[in-house]
Amino acid sequence: MTFPISTKTIPDEAVSRFREALGDENFSTDPVICDGYAMQPFHKTEPGCWINRPLAVTLPSSTEEVQAIVKICIQHGLRYKAHSTGWGAHGGAGYDNVVQIDLRRMNKILEWDEKNRYVVVEPYVNCAEIQAEAMKRGFNIHIHGAGSVCSPLANATSHCGMGWSGISTSTSSRNILGVEWVLPSGEVLKLGTCGSISESAGSRWFSADGPGPSMRGIMRGWAGADGGLGVFTKMSMKLFHWAGPKETAVKGRLQDLVVEKPDNFRITLCAFPDARSYADALFKVGEAEIGFLQCKNSVALMLGAMMPRMLRKIHASMNVKKILDACRHQFMFTIAATSDLDYQYQSQCLEKIVDDHGGIVLDAPAPLHSLMYWSFVRVSLPPVVFRMGGNFFSTFGGDEAFDNCMEQARIGEEIKRQFIASKACFDDLADNPWALIYENGLFGHSEELWFYDHRDPEMGRQVDDYAKACADATLEHTLGGGGFAFFKGGEVHDILGPAMSNYHIWQRRIKKALDPNDLSDSKFYISSD
């Protein structure tokens, strides 16, 4: 295994200035420390687990210190990359001359506004912490797919934001109510009310758009810039009504959880005879405006997460595979009712919709329902996705009307079958889309999961081939606007852009205008030339 050790060095003067700005204990060029940021096997198409080792690691504790770091980098021509909780290569150094800005010391919940339903957080606060405090106040939050151990600020400002409860809590980027943003120039831009209304006003973080044109549209799009447009230091995010108890007694961990499921919650699996009835039912679910959580976790995903050894053995038995294949058109559905009548309405609607479409509603049996209830409310299970092969990759995922998501799943499965045959990934029955609807069905999401072992050179090598095949299919079949293909960065934009309103030209102009020297690490965004 080779380490991509940097050939660049950091100038002595820059080192002095970093130490002066941050203190000796908050700056390091020690290779041991720096390598801690370079092992990032997830979300990369290159084989192996290593990305570039940063030249140095900085640990700012305030917005002012972040500004100081950015300005030192500008002065010395150094690239920089913000990192908060991290979850993959997109949080690390994309090049060999990058100063890592580790935001772990900016870890405070700054403000609760319960009336107006928002909370202001710093970059290193994770969803689990916020949610625990929110529930005590009668609120919940949107937790994105990476799970509760991750930073909602990093996700909402800089990456994608699909999550299990999207039907009732939308997606991260549409949950933003204010942002403090250190631009690539080192100056601070505050979006919306937090930057422009009187200090004496009681609430100041309640809207992120305006005055006039909204610079949220420059900050990010469907996807974030993944560190390519500066550093985000504060964010106001939405709180949602929580119909569950303020405190929950929990015994055990992860897959051994024992929790009392509240009576106003219903945990179900809804299964359908075919793809059409499954999709049609989801449209009706959206129209009925029911549901707290809805998501297709495929059979392969559930087995891979819970019983990976079993999934590996299944492919030897065609009969078992066929049985499991018969269960493929299903989604998990959770009701969280605010009253008895609400429970009745939601339950009856669900049963009727499923029945009208030839499906069945399976209530989660005890004691499994308590595990499902709490694991999905807390979004604590994503790390177990790595159990199957040690790593996974994801393709498609471009959000659009749900019928288009169904096409993404269908074509994704076809492509993956070929790669399963060549043992590029583990056999997950090919049907492994993670799919859901947002905002009562406004639009949908479907990403095709791919279980593999990055330590296997042959598997690692084929990730890129698979990603390319999916990107090509996206163009050929007009599938949901690019999706995760963007995260290859660089030349991918020049392939997708001409087919997508030439967005790459405008995005590149934005990058160039805000970061003319291309110092804010644009590996997962777009270069300025």
Partner: protein, 492 residues
């Protein structure tokens, strides 16, 4: 910059002689300046019919240095955002003739509308397919759907207002380079027809990729591009709908109820009005408005409950009971009638544009309006300040209409003060103008957020955020490098 004749010649070529206007009578339609500003007549006007013609107009403006002022709504125009400047040769790009509904789709509850489509037209087409359009509170019949959404006019159903761009989804726009650009899911890959074939429906408002330029175009008062169509959210037409009133002498109590309802996404239409505003909606005649306003309680919360396709009765019963329980905790009562006015009738009124005269003008013939975003718990502070200001200016506070519209699912609200005046009475007009002028400043000092900084509010709104001004200017130079769009608006 070329001279007026050269500009006219270039534009006439761009759209053809039939769509080019320099007749003074026609141009005078665009000369309104708003309530208190003298109007200016544009050099000429063009009425493009296609996206290609709009692009040609923009390219002609780049070539000649003309200032393009896009307008979509019909006459009478409020001119909040597209006032004709006195010192620049300006051309009105009247988008009213692009008035097609390009697609309306029941499965995905979406329509693609051109800027000339008005709410009445969209609503009628949506209803045929069992859907409803999302309207601002009783807009003028001439109001363009696209213009209203671009201006962030609040809709009356907070639960459907997830984010500030709603109910606008994707747009097609012509930037100041003459390039066409589509946002969100509409960007591609593929043509619209190819996207429909693959099940896409221009429903994703985000993107494409890592930009979200619809957010930059919205709220820009036509300074960033000209929108040639937009996909917009539609919702299911309720099978059953009922309207209810809740009244109180204190707005604070009604605000508490609005918080409780919006937190749980209870209710469909939901807003608060003072007696004067409600009377202006329910009656048409001045004397009747004044009479009703005196009889009504000072503050009224109006809401609808609705049942859709599946178990509509059960849903209505659930909503009625759950809202009544919340109201009961606040010692409030929900009632279906208000001084003889039926809640169900008001609910039906909300589905259509306002009959003429426009409800805001019924009391005195004209009005000025002061509006901004705040939080609902901040509303009483502004009410008190506005009352004091009215007294100081000798403006009759009882004439003032107040409208509180929860937005972003109740996380903040649009607060609007309507200041009726008699346009033929110079003293009355001056009182209203003085109050209007000072109110902006006072409200701003108290924390008003002018998300839509029209006219004099722009200077106020941008005074505290030079960082935002710098960013907007940077973006303007990218999207409109020759500055052909609406010069002098917002901070540009």
């Amino acid at each position: 910059m070329k001279n007026g004749m050269q500009i006219k010649t270039a534009l006439k070529i761009a759209v053809g002689p039939d769509r080019f206007h320099e007749n003074p009578d026609k141009l005078s339609e665009y000369a309104h300046g708003g309530a208190f500003v003298a109007g200016q007549t544009p050099l000429c006007a063009v009425e493009p019919k296609t996206t290609d013609q709009v692009a040609a107009v923009v390219r002609a403006a780049v070539e000649t240095g003309a200032n393009l002022i896009p307008c979509s709504s019909g006459s009478p125009r409020s001119q909040r955002g597209c006032r004709v400047p006195a010192d620049i040769p300006s051309v009105v790009v009247d988008m009213g003739k692009m008035d097609r509904i390009n697609r309306i789709n029941r499965r995905n509850k979406v329509a693609i509308v051109e800027p000339g489509v008005r709410f009445g037209t969209l609503q009628a087409e949506a209803k045929k397919l069992g859907m409803k359009a999302l309207l601002p509170l009783l807009p003028r019949a001439s109001k363009s759907v696209v213009a209203a959404y671009l201006e962030r006019e609040p809709i009356t159903i907070p639960k459907y207002h997830w984010d500030m761009t709603d109910p606008m989804l994707c747009v097609e726009t012509i930037f100041g380079t003459g390039d066409m650009f589509r946002t969100g899911g509409a960007a591609g890959p593929g043509s619209l027809e190819e996207q429909w074939k693959s099940g896409a429906s221009q429903k994703n408002p985000m993107g494409p990729a890592q930009t979200d330029l619809v957010r930059v175009i919205q709220g820009a008062q036509g300074t960033m591009g000209i929108v040639t169509w937009s996909s917009v959210k539609l919702e299911v037409l309720p099978a059953i709908r009922k309207g209810y009133f809740v009244t109180s002498p204190r707005i604070e109590t009604l605000i508490d109820l609005a918080y409780a309802m919006t937190q749980r996404r209870l209710g469909d239409e939901l807003f608060l009005l003072n007696a004067q505003a409600m009377a202006g909606i329910l009656e048409k005649d001045k004397a009747k408005i004044e009479g009703l306003a005196k009889k009504l309680p000072p503050w009224i919360l109006f809401y609808c409950v609705a049942g859709y396709e599946i178990f509509p009765e059960l849903r209505v019963r659930q909503q009625e009971r759950d809202i009544a329980a919340l109201a009961n905790k606040l010692d409030l009562k929900t009632v279906p009638d208000l001084n003889g006015a039926r809640g169900d009738s008001l609910a039906r009124m909300l589905d259509e544009p306002s009959p003429e005269p426009w409800w805001k003008d019924r009391l005195k013939g004209a009005h000025a309006e002061v509006f901004f975003l705040t939080t609902m718990d901040g509303v009483p502070v502004f009410l008190e300040a506005m009352g004091e200001l009215a007294d100081a200016h000798g403006y009759p506070a009882e004439d003032m209409g107040v409208y509180v519209q929860p937005v972003q699912q109740g996380r903040n609200c649009h607060l609007e003060f309507m200041l009726p005046f008699d346009p033929k009475d110079a003293d009355d007009k001056k009182r209203a103008q003085d109050l209007f002028d000072e109110a902006g400043k006072v409200m701003f000092e108290k924390g008003a957020f002018f998300s839509r900084p029209y006219g004099p509010w722009a200077e106020l709104a941008y005074s505290r955020c030079p960082d935002t001004v710098a960013a907007i200017k940077t973006v303007k130079d990218i999207l409109d490098p020759h500055h052909v769009f609406n010069q002098g608006r917002i901070c540009l």
